[in-house]
């Protein structure tokens, strides 16, 4: 990958300055079945299209979320998460 990703703090950065931690996931709220746990741990959509992903900026050392198109690598939006 050679894209630029805009850290909400640091602006556009080379992808090497960041760490992509993959699709954002939803942790089960209560004790999951084995299948539910496996889905949460290992199964990712990885679909053609826009994904919501976690990124870590090695410059400011903060996490942020990004919407990235898995085919074009276009990052349409990045933002710091807000409390639910």
């Amino acid at each position: 990958m050679s894209l630029l990703v805009t850290c909400p703090n640091c602006g556009p950065r080379e992808v090497q300055e960041l760490r992509c931690a993959g699709e954002s996931t939803r942790r089960p709220q209560s004790t999951p079945t084995q299948r539910e746990l496996n889905d949460y741990l290992y199964v990712r959509d990885n679909e053609w299209g826009v994904h919501r992903e976690w990124w870590f900026c090695r410059v400011c050392e903060e996490w942020f979320l990004a919407e990235r198109h898995t085919y074009t690598n276009e990052v349409s939006r990045t933002w710091h998460p807000e409390p639910a």
Partner: protein, 886 residues
């Protein structure tokens, strides 16, 4: 040397002579020559042997596109010598032959050729009998590939990586590229031009009359402040204007707001029998020889062309005094049969419908194709312009433009028809892979009727030229054979790299960033043998006997630099609650001034890291991690809190805080000499954390016992590290205070059965099977990270267990040695050492859980035999922990 009289456009400097060797013999050259031009000038005509048939091949394109001139230069194989400038003393050798370049024994494959080497021959032939595959493999490996790398040879030259940022990058420094660059620079933009030629000018340089215009453009570009990288090749074009460029031994990574592709045209060969004979060249290839390097390429030339550049070549050849004995302009009609004839693989005649003209050079020029390769790789669509027979790029990616010939401006060439169903010599479509029209028709007949399938089956376009000279012709052969039109057949997917590139260049400059602690030079002064641990350099030991160094800690007092430990400060009202969530055990109930061991797992239940957690205040916790885990744990904690938003802050202290562990029965006596604080059991008990002053320096003292002796881990600001270290050694001299390294520490912790995460655990290890069930506290209100997976391990039952063992026979297995149960590999030894203190060999191993019983025996594979080991549960040394708590 056979050179023409000097003329104004030539690149050579006749006043500067250089010498290199080819196959051991000296070759003269002028400054400005390429290795290829100098060899040609010296009379060499055969430059390589073809991939499969070992046919002699000579210069064809003289522009670095074809593979005909690949040689090994200074140990690096597959260098295109036609574009490689001569270096004084360079060592050049030919490749892909048995014998010599001029007499290659493997040529026999061409003579036997035909029936034995159609596409798919290898797949079909060498599959049975299966038993013979090892023999087949040995033979085939010997003949496969081009060039040789010396596996024992030193790594090639040092490579560098440079990052550049520009408003505009122009790929191709020909006429239209330079005009675009000058226009952009005039607007004040930073502009970089990347050109693969020896000098910018592109096709102008090949033209005998073009040098004045090229010089004028060069000067204007210079004045406008245009930066030029040449000879340099853009190896790909990626999203958001990212263009990596191979520039000699440097990989230049350019990030530009706009990319202008002005890559010009790719000359195309014509498809006729004998089109690969030595002496059959592309029009601009010949023109470069004549105009750039003033070489007389032949006595009698025949020109066959579908466009103007063929005629331009004829004119240039005549101007240089070469006899042009015939010109066939395909725009005025295409004879059904054209053929080059040769003797000993050198062209000696050209025949048109059987009418033979003798010549020693055939100049061919098919319809030139816009050089769309880079654009196609970047995502542009390529469509066929039927009237002109050229593929033109459209739908360019954002912020990418194409100009000049690359955009389709290649004039009005004829659409040359490949010669099919001929007699006579082979008729090549793909020179790199030795694929003929016959091979392609054979593949179609076998059912490989899509161009993508045919590509994979025949390997057409997959050779070093990456389709530059064969892509379009293979589509034409397809069209003619199947009756489909070119747009229906389509083009094959273009992928990076756009041009062959060495792995070394992609790997970049070898970088081993080293982290050193504040005490690094002290360790060196004390004779420490430094070793890598992750990115850190740490002392392995300070003398020849790590065992004695460990024993000394039991007998007196030792110091070890543990500054590499990850150190995080967590503050906030919910810091304790946060730790309860990420650790299996509980920290919210930890009393201020107390320490608890913690192990981190993910939700998959696998052990990630471990360390100690000290509570320094109601809302303040000091967390240590393993030496390699500092960044990962920081990211892990902050990631969870980016979800949870608990009221807790995280400070990474690893680099700013140094730490020294003072351990041994005399540690307390030593501390009393360097500190006014109370280091007794009343002042600081086992697993207490206290703020103290040591040698005047404010320290956090953690009383923990990784090495199994009374010990104080002192954490303090890094600038004081030498002062604290020196004071401890000086004041403890008569107590025997001495440094100990990582290896003695490994012995000491093993005596206690203490685990090193990622040494004694792996990516499959969980808390229960790593023998830490006591750490799991499931009565917390929150579902701690890893709880569910750990519970599932408990539910399914334990399969493995990490246990201690002794080697009764004294045999020392290697770490990683297999545990064998009933002849089956069942676990492994994770750590093993000889303990001087215990006088025996001890270790840790992962064994089947049923063997996790005191005294159980199991076998370990040692040098091909099974050696019995005896399980020991719990610490080997000081099992009651009396020394820790002394």
């Amino acid at each position: 040397m056979t050179r023409l009289d000097p003329h104004p456009g030539e690149l050579i400097d006749r006043s500067t002579e250089l010498t290199f060797t080819f196959d051991g013999k000296p070759v003269g050259a002028f400054a400005g020559d390429t290795i290829g031009s100098a060899l040609y000038a010296s009379g060499r005509r055969t430059f390589s042997r073809s991939f499969k048939y070992h046919r002699p091949r000579g210069l064809q394109c003289c522009s670095g596109h074809c593979a005909n001139c690949q040689m090994t230069v200074d140990g690096q194989p597959n260098v295109r010598v036609c574009v490689t400038p001569v270096r004084e003393g360079a060592v050049v050798i030919g490749q892909n032959y048995r014998g010599s370049l001029d007499r290659d024994l493997m040529r026999v494959t061409d003579k036997l050729g035909g029936p034995f080497t159609p596409p798919g021959f290898y797949y079909k032939t060498f599959i049975r009998p299966r038993k013979l595959w090892p023999l087949y493999e040995k033979v085939l490996r010997g003949v496969a590939g081009l060039g040789k790398l010396d596996p024992n040879g030193a790594r090639g030259g040092r490579v560098e990586v440079v990052h550049e940022h520009a408003e505009v990058v122009v790929i191709g420094g020909g006429e239209s590229g330079l005009e675009a660059a000058i226009a952009a620079a005039a607007r004040g933009d930073r502009v970089i031009v990347v050109d693969e030629g020896p000098a910018v000018g592109g096709a102008l340089l090949a033209d005998r009359e073009g040098h004045a215009r090229a010089a004028e453009l060069r000067q204007r570009a210079d004045e406008a402040g245009v930066e030029v990288l040449a000879p340099a090749i853009a190896i790909g074009l990626f999203e958001e204007g990212f263009v990596p460029v191979a520039h000699g031994d440097t990989l230049v990574k350019i990030r530009a707001s706009r990319v202008v592709v002005a890559a010009g045209a790719m000359e195309q060969p014509l498809v006729f029998p004998g089109n690969d004979l030595v002496g059959v060249m592309l029009a601009d290839g010949v023109r470069r020889l004549v105009n750039l390097w003033s070489i007389k390429p032949a006595e009698r030339a025949f020109v066959v062309a579908a466009d103007d550049r063929g005629l331009g070549a004829a004119a240039d050849l005549e101007a240089a005094g070469i006899d042009v004995v015939g010109v066939l302009d395909l725009r005025q009609g295409q004879p059904p049969n054209i053929e080059a004839r040769g003797r000993r693989s050198r062209v000696e005649a050209f025949a048109v419908n059987g009418q033979v003209t003798h010549c020693d050079l055939v100049v061919m020029s098919g319809s030139p194709q816009p050089n769309y390769k880079l654009l196609a790789q970047a995502g542009a669509r390529v469509v066929y312009d039927e009237s002109r027979g050229v593929f033109v790029p459209t739908d360019l990616p954002p912020n990418v433009e194409a100009v000049g010939a690359a955009a389709g401006d290649v004039g009005e060439p004829a659409v040359p028809s490949p010669v099919l169903g001929h007699q006579g010599d082979k008729c090549f479509v793909c020179f790199c892979e030795d694929q003929t029209t016959k091979d392609l028709k054979y593949a179609i007949a076998e059912g490989f009727d899509s161009i993508e399938l045919s590509k994979r089956y025949t390997t057409v376009t997959m050779g070093p030229c990456q389709g530059r000279l064969c892509h379009v012709n293979s589509i034409r052969v397809y069209a003619k054979t199947t009756g489909l039109d070119e747009n229906t057949i389509g083009t094959t997917t273009a992928r990076p790299p756009h041009t062959p590139v060495t792995l070394g260049l992609l790997a970049g400059r070898p970088q081993e960033p080293v982290k050193r602690t504040s005490l690094h030079h002290r360790h060196e002064e004390l004779g420490g043998t430094m070793m890598w641990t992750g990115a850190w350099k740490r002392p392995h030991s300070y003398g020849p006997d790590p065992g004695a160094e460990a024993k000394h800690v039991h007998d007196a007092v030792g110091l070890i630099d543990v500054s590499t430990l990850g150190k995080l400060l967590l503050t906030g009202p919910e810091a304790g609650a946060f730790l309860d969530r990420v650790y299996p055990n509980r920290f919210s109930d930890l009393k201020v001034g107390r320490i608890r061991y913690g192990v981190l797992t993910g939700d998959a239940g696998r052990i990630m890291d471990d360390g100690t957690v000290a509570r320094l205040g109601d809302e303040t916790f000091y967390v240590t991690t393993t030496s390699t885990g500092a960044d990962a744990v920081y990211q892990w904690f902050t990631w969870w809190n980016a979800v949870w938003f608990m009221d807790v802050r995280f400070v990474q202290l690893t680099g700013g805080v140094s730490a020294i562990n003072v351990a041994g029965p005399k540690a307390r006596e030593l501390m009393a000499r360097v500190s006014a604080d109370d280091f007794s059991n009343e002042g600081i008990a086992y697993l207490d954390a206290r703020h103290v002053r040591v040698a005047g320096v404010p320290c956090l003292a953690l009383r923990i016992g990784f090495v199994g002796e009374l010990g104080y881990e002192l954490h303090f600001p890094s600038p004081h590290a030498e002062h604290v270290w020196d004071t401890l050694l000086e004041q403890g001299a008569d107590l025997g205070a001495a440094p100990f390294g990582l290896e003695p520490q490994r012995i000491l912790r093993l005596e206690k059965g203490h685990v090193i995460v990622s040494q004694d655990t792996d990516s499959e290890s969980n808390l229960l099977e790593a023998a830490m069930p006591w750490i799991v506290k499931n009565d917390k209100e929150f579902e701690w990270v890893g709880k569910w997976a750990t519970q599932q391990v408990a539910d399914r039952g334990l399969r493995w267990m990490l246990v201690g063992f002794e080697s009764p026979s004294g045999v020392v297995p290697v770490e990683g040695a297999q545990v064998v149960v009933r002849g089956v590999s069942s676990g492994r030894v994770t750590s093993v050492r000889h303990s001087d203190a215990l006088g025996k060999v001890i270790g840790l191993a992962i064994v089947p859980s049923e063997l996790a019983a005191e005294g159980a025996r199991f076998l370990v594979q040692v040098d091909g035999r099974a050696v019995a080991m005896r399980v020991h549960l719990g610490p080997f040394f000081d099992p009651a922990g009396e020394r820790l708590k002394a």
